[in-house]
């Protein structure tokens, strides 16, 4: 009896012990691997509608027609455009057009993902890697017009995606790392003739400033510096039909070594608002005069309405979220959304940065621990506003860098950098993070860490949640209210671009994602870089050295139907 009781007691004790052990194990693992909690119960994952292999290296860029019927895929080097019909079963290729055999842009395009094609009613506007803007017939792929704009022999590239507005095609050009002057051009939608072209640097007439400007686009540079001063349009072009203004951020000044370009280096690293009809400047806000760390200001630009006023939200590469009055360019606020060491604070009215003297640079001297690193705290497509709310989702890179400025001379067609960099992960935490920013409260609502920097970009909708791709080949969706993981699928290759949310002709929600390799980051992933050199990929090698190259180096486009 006593034996049985004791055995029973032993049993229950054993059960309690086991329960305790598993409880503490769960707590421990939750602390050690917080991702496990998130990945524990994925909701029904999306199913693959279509997977299309490009058959060549490089990240394809994607666009979908307004009716959701056609998926346009543009490959880079050499460039082709393929239209896939999503309305027909098996999604056949509707047409395919070649944009020439030019491949030299592969070595020239550094960091920006290639711009997506821009579909209009019956046309498709494409930025070619050969510097030509083309209009194709959206139904047949036949070329309607072809306009050479950027001189590829001088390393000038078309950057980003064309923007269609007011009967014009707006195109950004530049290549900051090769010392190319950035510009924005307006082409006529119907025949592609050049309506106006405005540069980032140079005399007021080139920049589009009226009389009395004082040519500060020249006088804030030493010597002929403005002629090869960078300031390209690597970020998005944004048009506001309510204010009739064209917005964009300008890239960083060239070269990276700030000692070689004394002065404020106007009008690089700032935000422009232009009149789309004439290209005249309406306002400019310089975010980083004499940009020390070559971060530029070509980050995301998001328009919102607040109490009847149009405001422009700009999470900048320097780690601050700027809020501006879109009509006047007046600063409303600047708040840091990520820890950084480069700036002490930003003036809330003039946007003038107060730099940390401990992070000053000197030629031939290595300054360590500059955060954020040169790729910026946020990529060009790294932010999205959840419609109907005041929640801004930001895909944050939390990298730091060691920076050593070096002597450099401008030789047309060769890189104009003059710096060695090594990127390091942050002191605490992971390199990537999704930050949900509460615009009303002016603070972070929640955040989810990611192991690798989130260079690709982020999309959000109330139905689909927050969707982003990672460099280790995952496409993830998380809930917009708490950051809880909804689903996560392996796409097999890095996703250095932005996923595309759209509605299929049958009304189902879908997301298209391009995976593959582009720029210094993804070429690291393709195994083309020697990771033993910490400066490989301008220092990216140092944070990505544990990533394995994908089994299939080809670019790929996958379309998922959302649950």
């Amino acid at each position: 009896m006593s034996d049985r009781r004791s055995r029973r007691g032993g049993d229950s004790l054993f059960k309690l012990e086991r329960w305790c052990a598993s409880f503490w194990l769960a707590v421990l693992s939750a602390c050690l691997f917080p991702q496990m909690l998130l990945t524990a119960a994925p909701r029904d994952p999306p199913h693959v509608l279509l997977s299309w292999r490009a058959g060549q290296r490089g990240l394809p860029s994607i666009a979908v027609s307004a009716d959701g019927r056609m998926l346009f895929v543009q490959t880079a080097f050499p460039s082709t455009v393929t239209a896939l019909d999503l309305a027909v079963p098996d999604h056949p290729v509707a047409w395919r057009a070649s944009l020439g055999e030019e491949t030299s842009a592969e070595g020239l395009s550094c960091c920006a993902p290639p711009g997506s094609p821009a579909p209009a009613e019956s046309r498709l506007f494409v930025n070619g890697p050969d510097g030509h803007v083309r209009a194709l017939d959206a139904r047949t792929g036949a070329q309607v017009w072809d306009r050479p704009l950027a001189r590829i022999d001088e390393a000038e590239l078309l950057l980003g995606a064309p923007l269609l507005a007011r009967g014009k095609v707006f195109v950004g050009t530049g290549n900051d790392d090769f010392g190319v002057r950035g510009s924005v051009a307006a082409l006529d939608l119907s025949d592609g003739h050049l309506l106006w072209r405005r540069y980032t640097t140079g005399p007021d007439a080139d920049v589009g400033i009226g009389a009395g400007g004082g040519d500060t686009g020249m006088t804030s540079w030493s010597g002929d510096g403005w002629m090869h001063g960078g300031g390209g349009l690597a970020g998005p072009l944004v048009f506001d039909p309510m204010l009739d203004l064209l917005f964009y951020g300008t890239g960083h000044p060239a070269p990276w070594n700030p000692a070689l370009r004394p002065g404020d280096n106007r009008w690089t690293s700032g935000l422009f608002a232009r009149d789309p009809a004439t290209g005249a400047v309406r306002w400019f806000l310089g975010l980083a005069p004499h940009d020390l760390y070559a971060l530029g200001a070509a980050g995301p630009l998001i328009l919102a309405t607040e109490q009847g006023n149009r405001v422009l939200l700009h999470p900048d590469a320097n780690g601050f979220l700027y809020t501006l009055d879109a009509a006047s360019g007046r600063m409303l606020s600047a708040r840091p959304f990520v820890a950084q060491t480069a700036l002490r604070h930003v003036d809330q009215t003039t946007a003038r940065p107060d730099r940390n003297p401990a992070m000053a640079l000197a030629t031939n001297t290595t300054t360590r621990g500059i955060c954020p690193a040169w790729p910026g705290a946020v990529g060009a497509e790294g932010a999205a506003l959840l419609s109907g709310t005041t929640l801004l989702l930001i895909a944050v890179n939390r990298m730091c860098m060691d920076f050593e400025p070096r002597q450099a001379g401008f030789i047309a067609g060769t890189p104009f950098i003059g710096a060695n960099m090594r990127i390091t992960p942050p002191v605490r935490g992971a390199s990537g993070r999704v930050v949900a920013w509460d615009l009303v409260a002016g603070r972070q609502a929640w955040a989810v860490d990611e192991a690798y920097p989130l260079i690709g970009g982020i999309v959000v909708s109330p139905e689909a949640g927050v969707i982003y791709g990672t460099l280790d080949g995952w496409l993830r969706a998380i809930g917009p209210d708490s950051g809880r993981l909804r689903w996560s699928v392996d796409v097999g290759a890095p996703v250095p671009g932005r996923p595309l949310l759209f509605v299929l002709p049958d009304g189902r929600h879908a997301v298209a994602v391009a995976s593959g390799t582009s720029g210094p980051v993804a070429s690291i992933l393709a195994g083309k870089r020697d990771m033993r050199d910490a400066t490989a990929g301008h220092g990216y090698a140092n944070v990505l050295s544990e990533l394995k190259p994908p089994a299939d180096p080809s670019g790929r486009v996958t379309v998922f139907v959302l649950p």
């Binding site: 010597g223 002929d224 002065g263 000197a362 002597q407 001379g409």
Partner: protein, 334 residues
């Protein structure tokens, strides 16, 4: 005969020793309060130390001359000797302390910044030439030149010294003491030139093959002349006035020259070699090697490695016509 043979080495050595005592590169013709302070310090130290040395030698000779028997311990002679030695030690300490204070005061006076806003010049030493940058608050008013520093008389000048490759040392004896340029560091030197004139300086730290040919010129001008010079330096390169110069510019821009040299106003924007925008107006070529004339420019371009072996300018093979055109263009870049 034999005395003439003995005198011969002195006849050579003495003028060689004294050759540095005057002229454009001499610490004995000071052109600034800083070099004046250095000279006073030098004379003070030399005279004081010389006198002491003479006294020591005299007493030594005297002591040997009047050598007597060794003093016994505790004897009055020994007590006197102890007192003499003690006094001498105390005198030595006092003299050294006084000289230290004077030297410290002189160094301090040299580093003193005047009330007036100094003219800032950035000098970057490379193998084997000097890049001279005049920064300005209006960036486009700044300019870069080489191997020649112009300063206005009477205005304090602050020289920021950097090195591009190895350690060099900036030394213009007539104006200031030497200061090393160290890669990755910025050293600063301040001075105020008091006398109009041309001072020669050179690298004072062995820096490689052509260390000997790494000179620079410091030109002290009246403020008006300096302002005029600045205005000229700020302008872009002159446009060629004839077809030969035109061709020279074309050759310079299209050939290897443009990859290393800058000529403002053309596509040539290299930074490896000296800025050539106003080379025709400079006194010397290749860091004090040759005076600037069309002929020396042509000779230099034709064969830099024979004139200054080991320097970083390669021999660019040019046809005789091209060479003539380039030298005409360079000489016209005033």
């Amino acid at each position: 005969m034999s005395s003439a043979r003995h005198r011969f080495p002195y006849a050579i050595v003495t003028p060689l020793l004294l050759a540095a005592c005057s002229g454009a590169q001499s610490a004995f013709t000071p052109g600034s309060p800083q070099s004046q302070a250095l000279r006073s310090l030098f004379w003070l130290m030399t005279i004081v130390c010389g006198v002491i040395w003479l006294l020591v030698m005299l007493s030594l000779i005297l002591a040997i001359w009047r050598r007597g028997p060794a003093a016994l311990a505790g004897s009055p002679q020994e007590r006197r000797a102890t007192m003499v030695v003690g006094t001498c030690v105390m005198a030595t300490v006092a003299v050294i302390a006084a000289l230290t204070v004077v030297s410290y005061a002189a160094t301090r006076r040299m580093a003193e910044a005047g009330a007036e806003e100094p003219l800032t010049i950035r000098v970057r030493a490379s193998q084997w030439w000097w890049e001279v940058e005049y920064p300005d608050t209006i960036a486009s008013h700044g300019f870069i030149t080489a191997n020649e520093i112009h300063v206005p008389v009477g205005r304090p000048v602050r020289v920021e010294l950097e090195a591009a490759d190895v350690i060099h040392s900036f030394w213009v004896p007539g104006i200031a003491g030497k200061l090393d340029t160290i890669p990755g560091r910025t050293n600063t030197l301040t001075f105020t030139a008091r006398h109009i004139g041309v001072y020669r300086g050179q690298c004072a730290e062995f820096c490689g093959l052509q260390h000997a040919h790494m000179a620079l010129l410091l030109v002290v001008q009246d403020p008006r002349g300096f302002a005029r010079w600045e205005d000229v330096q700020r302008t872009q390169a002159v446009t060629p006035s004839d077809t030969e110069q035109m061709r020279g510019r074309e050759v310079l821009v299209s050939r290897q020259c443009a990859a290393c040299h800058t000529v403002r106003g053309t596509m040539a924007s290299g930074r490896l070699g000296p800025d050539l925008t106003h080379i025709g107006g400079r006194a010397f070529l290749a860091a004090g090697l040759l005076p600037v004339t069309r002929g020396s420019l042509a000779a230099w371009v034709a064969d830099p490695q024979t004139l200054k072996p080991g320097n970083n300018m390669p021999l660019v093979p040019l046809s005789p016509d091209d060479l003539r055109a380039v030298s005409a263009y360079l000489a016209a870049l005033r």
